[in-house]
């Protein structure tokens, strides 16, 4: 028997260790949460909410790539980016690039970010979201398709403020899965 497998079975018996090395949630949960995020961003809203509405797809991708980098990943980010491009009637690939960048940051920072609670993660999330929006902004300007104004970046700020709520909600679903798997 491999020594590491032995070690694993020992760790599993502690409740707190289960949290730390949690079993991955099923992929369907990731897909369901992404579809829900797309649904939210499809809702027709008025002007103020339209400006302030955070990009829930980006937040959801960020969450899964921080807490379950093996299950989520860049191909999911790329495909949901293409979907958002069709929804937003932007150039194909504009959101895909931004989401790949967000995923990249989440992947390289996920070990560090997991040390903090959701509220302490807000600044990091803000910078990641801003960089993602910056890419969309830059590609839009380079392609000459639209002239945005500075306040589109407010969406990133509201997105970062929504992060604890989203992390809590997705966390509840994720941990439910784990409990059921344990039984």
């Amino acid at each position: 028997m491999h020594p590491r497998q032995n070690e694993k079975s020992r760790i599993r018996s502690y409740d707190y260790e289960v949290q730390e090395f949690s079993f991955p949630a099923k992929k369907s949960l990731i897909y369901i949460s992404l579809i829900t995020a797309i649904l939210i961003s499809l809702m027709p809203f008025d002007k103020v909410i339209l400006v302030l509405r955070p990009d829930f797809v980006a937040l959801t991708l960020l969450y899964w790539n921080i807490y379950q980098p093996q299950q989520a990943g860049m191909s999911i980010a790329f495909i949901s980016g293409l979907f958002m491009d069709v929804i937003d009637v932007s150039i194909m690939g504009q959101h895909a690039i931004a989401y790949c960048l967000i995923t990249f940051f989440a992947l390289i920072l996920h070990r560090r970010l997991r040390l903090f609670n959701a509220f302490q993660q807000i600044p990091a999330v803000l910078w990641i979201l801003l960089s993602g929006q910056g890419v969309v902004f830059l590609t839009g300007i380079l392609a000459g398709t639209y002239i945005p104004e500075w306040y589109i970046f407010l969406a990133s700020i509201t997105g970062a403020l929504c992060w604890p709520l989203l992390a809590f909600l997705l966390g509840v679903f994720r941990k439910q899965r784990i409990d059921r798997d344990e039984v």
Binding site: K8, P44, V86, D88, V89, F104, Y146
Partner: protein, 301 residues
Amino acid sequence: MQTPPQFFKPGSNPLTRMFFFVLLSVFVMIADTRSDAISEVRRVIAIIIFPLQKLAYLPFSLQERVERYISDFELIEEIDHLRHEYLGSRYDFFRLQALTSENERLRALLGAAKQTEIQTVLAEILYVPRDPFSRKITVGKGSSSGVKAGQIVIDDLGVIGQVTQIYPWTAEITLITDKNHLVPVQIERNSLRTVISGTGRNGELELRFLSISTDIREGDLLITSGIGGVYPPGLPVGRVTHIEYDRSHKFARIICTPVAGVDRHRQVLILTGSPAPVPEIPDNPESHASQTKRKIQNQEL
């Protein structure tokens, strides 16, 4: 199904993966802006998204239904009011009918192209892009309802834009405020013809390249001139709100606001009748004259 927890991530490192996907996205972006190769992918994704779009719209349509039920009482009052108005406008209608037939006769005499009847399709605005600066909207009628690319979209006040991309059940509309969108217009007051273009900003249109000596005033209404055959004539487009004369420039800077309000409505009207064909100009005056003569004879018969 349980998979053992993985302590070390398999697969390539995030940086190489990101480069791969960024290159892929850049390739897709270039393909999308330079050619039509990606539009098929776009169509497929739009079909997949359509049920989601309907689902997202569901709470809003339910709310509308409830509001409609409540407003039934107001409707009774409104019907009374409208009945009065209807009787009043009946007179105008008869006069208009007489004028239309008279106009048709005169047009026939002139040998001008007959104005085609315009059919319309009522469509709901399904989605305004999340980005408030994008000048495109999606409506819930597509090629299955006879909508074609290039058709004109109006609301009850004036022109909204033009259908630019169609899917089976939805269509994309480029608004007249889009930076690259031009509409042939004329000033209602003195029939001066020009072309109006969007600025890319919300609620702003611009008349470019009109010289300083042009007869234009603030408050002038601009209507479509019908030149070019795409827009039917006589639809209100915008109103001149600001004129700036700068001596260092040859042209005046004229800003207009669109008459139609995209953000104020849920429903728009798509003009689905084929746009009036461009009348052919006869080569020699002889044939024109004989044509006119024949038309007169027909009238007499």
